[in-house]
Each structure stands twice: as C-alpha cells, then as structure tokens.
Symmetry: D2
Subunit: 215 residues, 4 copies
C-alpha cells in the first residue's frame, strides 16, 4: 500500500533570496520510491498563516507522514528536531512584520510535543548513507518551532495516527559565499530528505540509540 509523505518548505526570510527548505521540497514534490510518494507544499514564513496553510494541506492531502522542513542557518548537519515548545519569541519580524514575544502558540496547550518521527532512525539511516545528521533538542522560538508545534497540536487533536515532525537543514553553498557559515549541497539535502521521508513512512518505530546533548 502506498504511503504519502507531505513535506513543507518555507519561503525565504531574514534577507535571504532563497530558502533551502523550499528549494529542496520543490525538487522532491512528486518523488516516488519503494511505495512512498512525496507531495510538497510551500509555507509562508509567517506566524499563524503558516499553521493555517499546513492544516489546509493536511486536510487536502490526507498524508501518512508530515515532515516540515526549515532553514537552520549556521547548522552543519541535517537535524531532525526532538521537541516543539508552546512559545513564540521572535528575535526578528516574520515576513509580514509580526514579532510576537513570549506568547503561547496555543492558549492552554501543553508546554511541548514530541516529534512522532523516528528521529534516531532517520539520523542512523542518513549517516549510513554518508550524510551528516544529528538530533536537535531545540527548534528555536521563531516560525519553525511555531509551525512544528502547530503541526503536532493539530495531529494530536485530529489525526493521531499521522506521524509528524520537523527537520532543520543547513544553508545552501550559494547562501554562504559572503558569510562565514557552513553549508550543504542541494543534492545532499535532497538525498537526505528522501531518506528521511522513506524512513518515516516505512520504519515508523524509532530505535534507541544515543543522540543526546550534555547541555
């Protein structure tokens, strides 16, 4: 039976001309392998509107897995996020000028939701393919975490059988020609997200493998 993976990518923000997340998921849109089918949707880097767009896409696509992808500028590895927290604390305005500070994403919502993706297994499978990956314990407090929390809250209430989570990816090389930051080739990211999607769709139970941080 075919499995459908909905992947989302944000549009560019913070003065960038591209967002590696959007570039990647556009390429992956329509990809099929091993009975896994990826559909991709663009999400605005905007508080509230991002969650609304995601919920509409979930209703329309009825996926088995949802993987939201975001630019983790400065990161060296592909990093599946472990946990989404119920707070917006924006260091910069979003793409419509909103800058909430210490506001709950969902009033009276739980403090946090775990990712229900098999994050350790994704990291393991990526590494075995030679792709740098590690678990991240914080998705920040900007629109990425906002969407991640919104996703998990929606799935919790409306589609508990659908697995979901968030993956941060590095800058593309072209974004770092004038800044001193690490990057990852588009091809590597695309390959990495393929593996993540197939892993999440076909091997949904996670493994126990050390992936923690000391602090």
């Amino acid at each position: 039976m075919e499995k459908k993976v909905l992947m989302t990518g944000f549009d560019a923000f913070e003065g960038e001309r591209v967002n590696p997340a959007l570039e990647t998921v556009k390429i992956l849109n329509g990809y099929q392998e091993k009975g896994v089918h990826i559909v991709a949707v663009e999400i605005p880097t905007v508080f509230r509107a991002s969650i609304k767009k995601l919920e509409e896409a979930i209703k329309e696509e009825n996926p088995d897995v949802v993987i939201c992808v975001g630019q983790g500028g400065g990161r060296t590895h592909i990093t599946p996020e472990r946990v989404a927290i119920n707070v917006d604390d924006a260091r910069i305005p979003d793409n419509e000028g909103n800058q909430p500070i210490d506001e709950a994403i969902v009033k009276n919502g739980p403090v946090a939701y775990w990712s229900t993706l098999p994050i350790k297994r994704i990291v393991k499978n990526l590494r075995e393919s030679g792709i740098p990956a590690e678990v991240s314990n914080s998705a920040g407090t900007f629109v990425c975490n906002h969407l991640f929390y919104g996703l998990m809250h929606y799935l919790h209430d409306n589609a508990p059988d659908v697995r979901g989570g968030f993956i941060h990816i590095p800058y593309l090389p072209e974004q770092t020609v004038n800044k001193h930051a690490p990057s990852m080739a588009l091809e590597t990211i695309v390959e990495g997200l393929k593996i993540a999607a197939i892993t999440a769709a076909l091997e949904p139970e996670d493994i126990k493998e050390s992936g923690g941080a000391i602090h």
Copy 2:
C-alpha cells in the same frame, strides 16, 4: 520578610577536576543581601540520585526560590534555561555509570515544564551589570535537564508557590587552559548568580523582552 534561595551545584563530571557550578554555589552559600538569603547544596552528577538529593534539600530548607546550576561547557554566556523536557538521553555515562537512552524522567509526566524563574529579567539585569547572559532554549538531555525536570515536576506537585529553574554557566578559565573553549571568571559567575538569585527572589514576575532563537 526574608526570602530564601536554594542554589544547587553539581560535582565534577566528564573528566573535569572541578565543576564551576559547585565552585560558585559554595561561595554563595550563606550570602545575604537585600533580605535575600542563599543556601547552597551539592548535587551528584547522577541520574535519579540528583533529584532525590534536591527534593530532600527542598524539604529541609523550605526555600522561596530554587535555582539549579550546571556547567555548560562550551557556552560563552550565563544562560537561564527556558524549558525542561521529559527525557534522559545520555551521550556519556553519569558519575555512577548510568547511561539511559530515550527514557522518560517521569513516566506519564508532561512532555515539558517551563522554568518559573523570571528568565528575561535575569538576563536583562545581568546585562545591565556588564555580565554576558542570554536565554537558552535547551538544557540538553543529560543530568542537568534531568534535575531541572525533576525540580519542576516536584514543585508543580508539591510546592506550586516556589519558583524554580536552571542556569547553565561557562567553564572556568582554569578548565580551558588546554582546550579550545570559552570560559568565564569565577568572580563574574558568582556576581551573575547573585544577581540571578536576588532578581528571582525580589522580582518574580518576568518581563516581555525578545530573547528567542531563530532555530
């Protein structure tokens, strides 16, 4: 009316000969200023035993505020933690050889607890004193986060009026003579934790001030 602040510091781990947290709180033990009284207690860097020791100290001292302090090796700033998460995922063994992986700290406990310290106000007051400080959105998944979660869970169930939280501090200079990592002078950390204790005791309501992370 006097306010009592219980501060805790871990013993050394991961091959270090000192723990800056313990060194600092030992100095602050007995400190009094502006009607705030600090009592300090040493905590073993051990899963479970750390929480047990903390709970005993809380029962004995009956404090108004609890601030647990830990070494954040590699950090440049004093970093009040925002959130404790319900997972142990140890990259290295603790001081008794335990290395839990992806285990809940409290079975069926909530995914996470917020710090109830005024973390933004602490950061602001530290900065105004010329001390580098910023909010952290992850306390990791080792004994520091473990104790932090245990603290918040205990207070939630047993002493909801007591505020509590966790602060990570940098290495001491002497710890970095042979490693390429940032450090902070003991005097600076001591002064910073004094300010944190007094702020938490006398200005418990937090302010809204941007302190987030993009990812």
Copy 3:
C-alpha cells in the same frame, strides 16, 4: 597554447579514512578545459618526503601552475592560502611518526613566502559560481604549510615563472557523520578547484579586493 596545472593531494591522516584533497585531485587528473590541462599527483602526509615528491613531480611535469591542496578540517569554505611560513610545529605526528617542533623547514630560508596564485581572483570567481570561498591567512604549521613553503622555496630558486600556492578545503560530508564539523560536497570541491586551476592558469594577475581578517 596549452597551460598545464599540477595539482597535488595528500593521503589521509589523523585517523581519517579519506583525504578530500586526494579524492578531489584524483577526479581532476586529466581534466582539460579552455586550454588548461590538469595533472594530479598524490603526496604523502609526511614532513620532508612530501616536498621531495612534489619536486620530482614538478621536474617531471614542468607545469605552468602548481596548486597543492590539503584538508582543512573544520573549515566551511574553500580557502586559498596567502602565506607560507618557515616553521614546522606539529601538534600530531605525521604519517611516518615525525613530529618536529619549532624547526625551520629551510635553514636560513626567508621567514615566509607569499602565494603567487591570484588568490583574490580565485575567491571572486568561486563566489560568482556560488561556491563558498575566502582567503586564509594561515596554513597552520603542519605538513600542509610545510609543503606550501617547500613549493614556494623551490619555485623561487628554480622556476620563478611558475606560479604556485596552496588551497585548503573542508571535510567531505561522509567524514562528518559522527563529528560536529562543517563539510562540503565532493562535487562542489571539484568544481571549485577546476575554477581555481583555470583562474590561476589564464588570469594569473591578481585583483585588489578586500579579503583580509581583522585579527
């Protein structure tokens, strides 16, 4: 008239199984474009022997340009080196166990030699192709700097019309799956070194363009 570029790559060291420099120049060996012809040679990561092997290759190949390439583990960008200094100061042993400390590479040689590659132009051309690049002001004090100094000293004395220099490159992604360090895709490095070779062969005069470091 055809231009010949001799490129060299070291074998793996410091416990790595591959050296991105060697992987890259093996691919570039025999490459021809715009009348530029690349020949590649493997160099041992060994003091003295590396220079000997390089001198033999120069005598045999009689190139117009020599570009030595080395792994700059931890770097995020392709970094043409500005200057070679006359000292060996090895933090680790080389591949034959030599670990010279504060010894001159060439007794009574000059303190340093400039690269005679058009390093600013190489950086500019790489950036215009979307490849992260920046000038480096230190090639370290291990075998990379040793070979670089040996090269410039040899060219200075024996072949002053031949341009030469050194380029450090990041780890490959597969080298960083288990370490927290930046990497660059093999394809990106190969493309970058092609551009460097063609630039050095066809546009040997450098441009003046800010590329310095404050400290």
Copy 4:
C-alpha cells in the same frame, strides 16, 4: 638590573566603546615586580600613525621588551602571535577612514618577521597560572598585524637586542552582553599580561613545546 617592558594598547574601533587592550595596559602602566617595570602607551587604531606613535615611544622609553596588545574579538584565549606579515588588507576602515587593500607595510621589506618574544614559554607560564592561552599563527591583516610588522621591522633595523611581539586578547565581558562571543575578565587579562611581560623580560629564550596548528 631592572628590565623595562613597553606595552601598547589600541583605542576602541569597529563601533566598540572600549578596547580591552587599552583598558589592560592602562592598569599595568607603572607596574613593577621582580625587577620588571611596565610602561604603557596608547596607540591609535590607524594605519601608519600607529607605527609612528610606537617608534616615538620606543625612542623615548628605551625598553628591553616591547609587547603590543590588541583586541582579538571572538578569541577565547590570550594568544601570543607567532608571525607578522608584510601586508595591509583592511576589511573595515581604520579610525581615520583608511582602508588599504593588499598593500605592503614596508616596500621591499621581508614577507614576514617572527615574534622575538618567548611565545611558547609565555603560553606555558599562563597555563600554569590557570589562564587560557595558546599560540596564534595569524595576527590578521588589519592594524594589529600592521603595528606588529612595523614593530619588528623597526627593532630589526634599529634595536636588534630589544625583543618584541604582539598578543591578542579576548573581548571584555561587558563587550559581549549583546553579542554571542566569548570574553575574558579584565582581571584575568591583566594577570595574564603581567605574566607575559615578566616572562619576556626574565626568560627571553623560548622553549620547544608543541603549540602548532594542523591548518
């Protein structure tokens, strides 16, 4: 017989309100210990004018040792520099708006000068006092390296018995309250520079001790 050490510190630049180098040497001015006497002078962060001021101070003070000190923003350790190179390549304008690019400091001067301070011994003595220190292999290409090269060139031609060199120091804590960078307490830097001055004056011969960089 008394030894005189001339120490210099730059004024603030790049938007900073203080320069840790100037703050430190002002405190050390007049300091005496073990027959070593420190005199300090302020140097403008300006190409040319900095060297002129330094030469005047050397003529006036007739020191045994000259140690120029500069802010190495972003560094974690006190870092004696190994080598000065004959180039100005300014990424930002100096305090009078000069921004030379790839210009020789001394026309037809040698490519580089070694520090004649006992840099390994200084690092060793600092570490034994618990102060983070390591050798640096590049002083950059801005006014710090400019002054360092100017110093060594002057001593080489006019006072070959006088030892000289350059030490970069981290930001002060107060400079990093709003930036994510490491710092070092003023007291630690002052103590470190005292040790450096006394070491350079009383133990001028360096030791051989590994202090190199792989790249």
